[in-house]
Symmetry: C2
Subunit: 326 residues, 2 copies
Amino acid sequence: MSPLKHKIKDGINEDLTGIEDELKRHLSPCLDLVSQVAGHILFCGGKRIRPLLMILSARICGYNGDQDKKYSTMFEYLHTATLLHDDVVDGASMRRGKPVANSIWDPATVILAGDFLLARALSISAETGSPKVIRTIADITEKMSQGEIHQLQRKNDSSLSESEYLEVIRNKTAVLVSGACRVGAIIAQASEIEEEALHTYGYHIGMAFQMADDLLDYTADSTVLGKHIGADLKEGKMTLPVIVAFERADSSDRKFMEKILNARDFSIQDFEKLLTLLTKYGGIEYTRRAAADHIQKAKQALTVFKPAITRNILSDIADFVLTRKS
Amino acid sequence: MSPLKHKIKDGINEDLTGIEDELKRHLSPCLDLVSQVAGHILFCGGKRIRPLLMILSARICGYNGDQDKKYSTMFEYLHTATLLHDDVVDGASMRRGKPVANSIWDPATVILAGDFLLARALSISAETGSPKVIRTIADITEKMSQGEIHQLQRKNDSSLSESEYLEVIRNKTAVLVSGACRVGAIIAQASEIEEEALHTYGYHIGMAFQMADDLLDYTADSTVLGKHIGADLKEGKMTLPVIVAFERADSSDRKFMEKILNARDFSIQDFEKLLTLLTKYGGIEYTRRAAADHIQKAKQALTVFKPAITRNILSDIADFVLTRKS
């Protein structure tokens, strides 16, 4: 574990335990099968970054109630619901180092378990009794499905532009993270300035998080990442490193990239050649800088708050997003 | 069109037009593809029974605002979302006389379009600003997915009991209908007695509706129904006519039924023999009576209200559920 990860962990260990307990508690009265399918992906090493950000956002705004852990589960359930549907949609085989749910259960069961988790998240949002929280959750859900559909629509399409990519990742990733931070502020009855600051922080964290994730597909060690390297590419997903390199490539390199983008499968040699091109045309570097820029802005947004332990943790989490290896 | 259908139509024509307009309006700002996939099933002859029941329930409780049509779309969107996911889950080929969405689009698109409609329903529930409405919608969503999973779990299992079947159809069908009626009462700020009466009415309508639907699979003319006769059986779904006949059958008939239940496909002769057994052992008759009993109770629940046009329409709708041919 990196020193930064250690430092963050020390500050949030209790929160993480609380989140785990609540995630189990709100799932347990359900049908065995749902618990199993949902549990398969829920309890295998997720980072709980979304619920954690909600809890920390509430805390930095002075929340001192005892419902934060419970409410925070909404964001992990929503996230897990989309992962379950994604795995059916993408046809991926591995997730978090384990076979995906729909290689164990039939797709029907996985789809319905996802629906159930979505519904569970809504039920918990209804329990907050706050129309503002509920509107945020509804909005997140809507945007996420739009983002996923948008991505699916443009699958295997090398003409996907950077701005379209940014819209996709905003909807499918950043909206949930910024929503989690905003909800933290809302339940703490924070001022509008604080709420906006946390929303901005979450937005930039979400964007950077997705970019870092997209980078890992081309840079990580597969044993660390727990999924197959080049998985995005195999699914025909255009991500920023590829978009940038493709735009800048000369016609022969572009032709090669197009071929590999359209292939359902490719050799290790082809993939390695692609990696060389991503570096040659600065796709990797461009994405790294864009992510770093978002992290900078996320940390900037925190300056609304006075220096304090929670602010430091939020800032450390921002840094961690950039340095994580899995 | 039957005289009863005519009579009902006359009383609700304006409502139906309003529902159609709102269904289109709340879908139009969305991605083209979502509108297409959702529209494929949304705008091809659905009966709009759920939104209609919400509107009539509000009206009978004295609602005179102008948001009822808009709010009523929640129930059609929720219903359509489950149809989209169901069609992927069931692997059916026809729905409402048209090829199912996932024979036109890939399953991924259909799943995500379903997610989007679910999210749209929630957004509209959030717009009501009523925590009670939102709780009802969240509860419906949760129960529906539980019902579907339960059904899926017991697929091809001839040991499914009547009480288990009743629990499945309560969750997957009746909860949505009773929820629509309850929400109508809530937005009309009705008394608790009125709200409970409409909830009871909706519950019985929902149960009868599903039983009638299950019966149609064994009794309808396939050109009227718009789906293949025996579809439930092909999907391994145990419904009441079969459950009852199976329980009462002698060992040789039971053996035959078991065989046909486990077959992925069967001959017309086999299906016709099964129909004979469903009649011989009173499965058809038993289900018809159970549905009629629910309709009786639904109408009984309406006696809380004074005689009026809306009460008559609700009562006629109850009768229609029993007599419908498609």
